[in-house]
């Protein structure tokens, strides 16, 4: 897609627009040819206003060579487009103050003010609540009605089926097939991975034992000293999987980091099998029998320049048999690494290959292999399958379930609702730093979606429930 938008140059082949071959030297050529793109990571300057972001690159100016910005005209343009496609945005709002859904709307308006005929949407729903996603689909339908073409890139099959007129499946840089929206989910998934995969996780009912992790009244701040976890109570028992669902940025990251001793606990307690572990150093927490898959593997999970073998012992390199005194024992490290590469199906050229050369899925398997090779009481996996191919997802999920079955307490944090529903025995939904509800995995997706948006069933029924009022007033502002 970046080639289509002129960001990358093609090595071979050509692009035809309206039947004419097109040479794109840069994004401005693409815009000129009527191609607009909404990137997965928004291309908005956070400290600029909506109008400034929309103006950028296509500024209307007065005063000749001095080039004074014509803000009034920019505002009018934004208003026009907003009106025409029913995409309301405030041109004077500063981007970083806007919720993600509105930022995405700004991106769409930005493309539309440039008179594009073709709009590329790259994974637009990854950061949205189910309700916002629904609304985006509505916008896409109205754009279609207005005669625009849309390329919608996503890995969520339900969305593809809901909106697409034609579906093209790409795997490893090649078109592997096309399908119509009537194709079943299983057919599409099979096209995507090249073989039939199970979308649901096979697992027997849980047999919960004693509480292992107990969190009470936990309060944690984020990096900017803003309250991120605001009084969370949780209990996870041996032999069960607790799924933590929620739109990203609602305190899940901070909750897990606080449990792991990576972030100071401001109030409340964290206990592991009866022992208070809040205030412990991370190393001590790990050694007490906690396994941890961090959400960002390349930053927190692996040292990319280190070999697979070295990454596999990052937790216990200083313990026998891998270390003695000041020295490492390379032979022991390598032989154990080979064993685990086998056991966890890590596809690597050798145990000495730098882990950064592996695919995302195999990197993730290295982390899972490392963390599951210690005797565990508690296993915490944050976004365990983000950016991981479907085959590896299947494998990682089965290992997580296996860990549960041998009696470990498991916490899975994921922004993929399907993953949480598939794995969890109980689902805790986080919203604005609180657990807004704990539900079973059989709960309808819609209900969980509402919880993720801060609307709990009882609060919605009440006339002046806290979170419900928040959401209500927000929708009035934007309507």
């Amino acid at each position: 897609m970046n080639v289509l938008y002129g960001l990358y140059q093609p090595d071979e082949g050509e692009i035809l627009v309206d039947g004419k071959p097109l040479k794109l030297k840069g994004p401005s050529d693409a815009i000129g040819a009527g191609i607009g793109m909404v990137h997965q990571h928004f291309m908005l300057v956070p400290v600029f206003t909506v109008a400034e972001n929309i103006m950028l690159g296509a500024e209307q100016t007065r005063g000749g060579i001095a080039g004074f910005l014509d803000r009034r005209r920019a505002r009018r343009e934004v208003a026009e487009v907003s009106e025409r496609y029913n995409l309301r945005v405030d041109p004077d709002a500063v981007i970083e103050d806007l919720p993600v859904g509105i930022q995405q709307r700004v991106e769409i308006v930005k493309a539309l003010t440039r008179d594009v005929d073709l709009l590329i949407l790259d994974e637009p729903t990854a950061v949205l609540t189910p309700q916002e996603t629904e609304e985006l689909l509505t916008v896409m339908r109205s754009l279609k009605a207005a005669g625009k073409s849309i390329v919608f890139i996503t890995h969520k099959l339900g969305e593809v089926k809901a909106i697409a007129d034609r579906i093209t499946v790409i795997r490893r840089g090649k078109t592997v097939g096309t399908a119509s929206p009537e194709a079943s989910r299983d057919e599409l998934a099979a096209l995507m991975v090249g073989r039939n995969v199970r979308l649901t996780v096979d697992k027997s009912p849980a047999t919960p034992g004693d509480p292992v992790l107990e969190v009470a009244g936990l309060v944690v701040d984020d990096d900017r000293q803003i309250r991120a976890v605001d009084g969370v109570d949780l209990t996870v028992r041996a032999g069960e999987v607790l799924g933590v669902a929620g739109v990203q940025g609602n305190g899940q990251t901070e909750l897990i980091e606080a449990i792991m001793g990576l972030r100071p606990v401001l109030a409340g307690t964290v206990s592991l099998a009866g022992d208070r572990i809040d205030g412990w150093k991370t190393k001590k927490v790990l050694r007490a029998g906690v396994g941890y898959v961090p959400e960002d593997r390349s930053v927190d999970g692996l040292v990319k320049e280190f070999s697979v073998a070295e990454n596999l012992v990052l937790d216990i390199y200083d313990r026998p048999p891998f270390g003695a005194g000041l020295a490492l024992k390379p032979d022991a490290i390598t032989s154990s690494a080979k064993e685990r590469i086998e056991q966890f199906d890590v596809r690597t050229s050798s145990a000495d290959a730098p882990v950064g050369t592996l695919s995302g899925g195999n990197q993730q398997k290295v982390i899972v292999a490392r963390e599951l090779s210690r005797p565990l009481k508690l296993f915490i996996a944050a976004q365990p399958t983000r950016g991981v191919d479907v085959g590896s997802i299947e494998f990682i999920h089965s290992r997580i379930v296996h860990e549960r079955d041998v009696g470990t307490a498991v916490v899975v944090v994921s922004s993929e609702l399907d993953e949480v529903i598939g794995l969890a025995d109980r689902i805790a939904v986080m919203y604005r730093g609180r657990i807004i509800g704990v539900v079973g995995p059989d709960t309808p997706r819609e209900e969980i979606g509402l919880l993720m948006a801060g609307i709990s069933p009882d609060a919605a029924a009440a006339t002046d429930g806290g979170p419900a009022t928040d959401a209500g007033s927000a929708s009035e502002d934007e309507a």
């Binding site: 970046n2 994004p27 400034e52 919720p99 609304e135």
Partner: protein, 426 residues
């Protein structure tokens, strides 16, 4: 259309408890005020402290009894501190803080002036103000060079080198040609030369920008020092006797009391500097060039996807920065002094401090530069009246202020998000 706002925890108000930043600052100010009222009040003498509205002891003056003045202005600082402690509306924070700090400084001055040797119990305001601006001049140019560079995302630690190279080439080519204008152009080119090296290494070859900046400073010191010894010292007549811009009085403005004689009856570079602050401020926030510059400094990828040529904008801004700093260097050799080895003497780094203290904003940088210039001028004045305060103490102020600024004690200081990060496509 009904939209669910995505929860944004970041927007939630910070609960700082009772000790907000405003209160902490208020407490500090209160302590300073107490110090001023008690200590400065006790040390001040009963002499009249005279602040003359001229260049010397003559003429009209603002007078106040030293002891009374020191205590009175100290009390003003205490009052401002107490107000902040009690809590004031947000928009009153800066004005009240300003009043408090001015009170503290005036209290200090009342003590110093009244305690000066008999016959020297005066402070010539015109002289002080002029000195403040002249000493701030290289800082203003340097900080503007920093603004131009860093707003586009290239860290400019090479300000010192740019100023020095500007001063040197201004002196050299001014002397050879005998024309101030040739000197001025040469100075701009000299500064731009250092900038070009910075740009090529930082933008093209992705060298760490701080490291390359420091290296370029050393290069400038080395090259100019070498040529100074080989050319200027052996034949000063030929190579180091640049003509100077003559003083130019601005009609009308020169007749403003105090400020007129202090600022508008002389140095042409001062006018250029002040004008540049205005031009760059408007340019940055009101023009297409400014919007593109800021976008490239904040989020180059976003700018690129909209067809803004990121690298071209950066090259252009870094070169412009060199031109501005080069002219700043010429403000030494084409108006005030002959070239001497390493004559910038660290002012480039104080300019960097002014840039940060002024929050990457041209007007802020001007105010910061003036504050540092005032500290500098005050040090000179105090040593002239044999003050008990060592002048090194005041020379330390810019750095101290910058550390406090960077530590976030005077509000959040936020550099352009992409400052110092090379842009690599894809």
């Amino acid at each position: 259309m009904s939209t669910m706002a995505v929860p944004d925890v970041a927007v939630a108000p910070v609960d700082e408890g009772f000790w907000t930043r405003s209160r902490k600052v208020g407490l500090t100010l209160l302590a300073l005020g107490l110090l001023a009222a008690v200590l400065f009040g006790a040390l001040a003498t009963d002499q009249q402290a005279r602040f003359t509205l001229s260049d010397d002891a003559a003429g009209a003056a603002l007078e106040i009894n030293g002891t009374i003045g020191a205590i009175l202005f100290g009390i003003i600082a205490i009052a401002a501190g107490a107000a902040l402690l009690a809590g004031v509306p947000k928009r009153w924070f800066l004005p009240v803080l300003g009043v408090g700090l001015v009170g503290f400084v005036l209290s200090f001055l009342c003590w110093q002036v009244s305690a000066a040797p008999t016959g020297q119990n005066f402070m010539p305001l015109v002289n002080i103000i002029r000195g403040t601006f002249i000493l701030a001049l290289p800082l203003i140019f340097g900080a503007l060079a920093g603004v131009l560079c860093e707003r586009s995302g290239v860290v400019n630690v090479a300000i010192e080198g740019q100023l020095l190279m500007g001063a040197f080439s201004g002196a050299l080519f001014g002397s050879i040609s005998g024309s101030v204008w040739v000197g001025l152009v040469a100075a701009a080119v000299g500064g731009a030369f250092i900038s070009l090296l910075l740009a090529v290494f930082a933008i093209r070859y992705l060298v760490d920008q701080v490291v390359i900046g420091i290296v370029l400073n050393l290069l400038a010191v080395g090259v100019t020092g070498f040529l100074y010894e080989r050319l200027m010292q052996t034949d000063a007549e030929q190579y180091n006797s640049a003509p100077r811009f003559s003083n130019w009085e601005i009609p009308l403005l020169k007749d403003i009391p105090v400020l007129g004689p202090a600022l508008f009856r002389g140095n042409i570079f001062l006018y250029v500097g002040l004008l540049l602050v205005l031009v760059i401020h408007i340019g940055l926030f009101r023009t297409r060039w400014g919007l593109r510059t800021r976008s490239v400094g904040e989020h180059p990828t976003a700018a690129d996807t909209l067809g803004v040529k990121v690298l071209r904008v950066r090259y252009r801004n870094v070169l412009l920065a060199g031109v501005v700093a080069g002219i700043g260097g010429a403000s030494y050799t084409l108006a005030l002094y002959s070239f001497t080895k390493n004559m910038i003497g660290g002012k480039g780094f104080i300019a960097l401090a002014a840039l940060i203290f002024g929050r990457w904003n041209p007007t802020g940088a001007l105010l910061a530069a003036l504050f540092f210039g005032f500290a500098d001028q005050l040090a000179t004045y105090l040593s002239a009246i044999n003050s008990s305060i060592p002048s090194q103490f005041l020379a330390m102020l810019p750095y101290l202020a910058t550390i406090l600024a960077v530590a976030g004690l005077v509000g959040r200081v936020r550099a352009p998000a992409a400052d110092g990060k090379p842009y690599i496509k894809g």
